[in-house]
Amino acid sequence: MSKRIDVKDLNVYYGDFLAVEDVTINIEAKSVTAFIGPSGCGKSTFLRTLNRMHEVLPGARVEGEVLLDGDNLYGHGVDPVTVRSQIGMVFQRPNPFPTMSIRDNVLAGVKLNNKKISKGEADVLVERSLKGANLWNEVKDRLEKPGSGLSGGQQQRLCIARAIAVEPQVILMDEPCSALDPISTLAIEDLINELKDQYTVVIVTHNMQQAARVSDRTAFFNIAGTGKPGKLIEVGDTHTIFSNPVQKATEDYVSGRFG
């Protein structure tokens, strides 16, 4: 249940402003792809076009194609709601629903679109999803307590459990560890390693060591200057990008000479 993503000539706009220019990239199924690059280079913006979350902002739009196993996400008559139920997302800051219990948070996506689910099935799904997010042992005795009472790292894993409960094809992660301490970060990174056995994972990160630790392939984005569009500079095996990149800019960035 994982699909590949092929992006062809994608331009991303906020109103008239071209934020990301002409990206063509192939994201392999059942692998972890990391997007790295300096702040403002458009990597998060680009990530949000992969499940049509970009267009939630007023005036935001794209040109080009994003193919999920050959189906264009931006094709005529494609419902963004369906796209998002197949391509899950984990955000920069943990965002469990504060008014819901831990259990209801996990089931939130499953109960959408008026789907009914029996209590027995729900119990199984909650346990499987929380185990999948390495959170089960910590919360199994307090499933009815609010999700907002957990620590930051636990909340983020709860968000991952919520995302995998709907069994998506792809999981997008937008700097999932940037608000977390090192121990929680490690827990999430371990989890990403396990997730790629079943899911296609795309992760945006500011942390190059993190990209090197968790990803199979790495894409480097850069920006020529303020007000200029972000561009995809280079994409390749993580090992190659970090040890022997083709582009000079990539080498400068990964060796810490700027950004």
Binding site: S85, Q86, F97, K145
Partner: protein, 310 residues
Amino acid sequence: MTATTLTSTQGAGRAGDKIFSGAALAAGCLILAVLFGVALFLVVQAIPALTAPADEIQGGKGFFAYIWPIVIGTLIAAVIALVIATPVAIGVALFISHFAPRGLASGLGYVVDLLAAIPSVVYGAWGAAFLAKEISPAYNWLAANMGWLPIFQGPASATGKTILTAGIVLAVMVLPIITSLSREIFLQTPKLHEEAALALGATRWEMIKMSVLPFARPGIISAVMLGLGRALGETMAVALVLSSGALTASLIQSGNQTIAAEIALNFPEASGLKVSTLIAAGLVLFIITLAVNMIARWIITRHKEFSGAN
């Protein structure tokens, strides 16, 4: 040397702090003093009516027999107003905050706020001169078709000046309060929670159910309670619209009365014990409003654990 600078209390910032905290304390105390003063006045002035022999009170059966029909009338009018206004207000507020295109949203918000600026006597005149006449055919229909319900029992009032008309006018009056406050709360929903719902594949309405409404729940309750406060205390509109009378179950016959309108209509010609009786009625209204607000607070704090504030 360092110790002296650390213990210095002469800085300008300290003085500013003291002035501000003093002013804030004084303002807080003033509110309490005014509230206490009003309560004291009501109690002292009401005592003659509460202790008078039953046959001297209007109606001749004591204060309680006098007050309870108009308490019920007040509550009926306020409940009608809220039942009509709350869903409409929440709908309008949601439309403005989450559905309408930006240009239309600000225009619509402005129009709704304008509704709040219309004086209540104008609403009263509109209700009495226009709405009552226009709505009486509907009352006749209700009496003919749903008359088996006690609240729609006929014969319907020919003038349309009933408690239901008064409730509808009150609904229009409390609509802007509930709408404006709800809209402000809806706009404050964290983007993070809205995106969490959307990213799971929620439609816009599901997103609103999952993130906006739970977040806004305490705010909606507060807004409704403010609206209720206005509906309970509204005087002029009810006095003009309602052709008052004895307590009746039917909402489409003339009859019923509210405390505020009762006081307004009788106060100018009252003297002696009658004044005390009316002030005692005011005291009862004060207590009802206080109770309503306390219940609202209790509802809001009951779910504190899940409020998102922790």
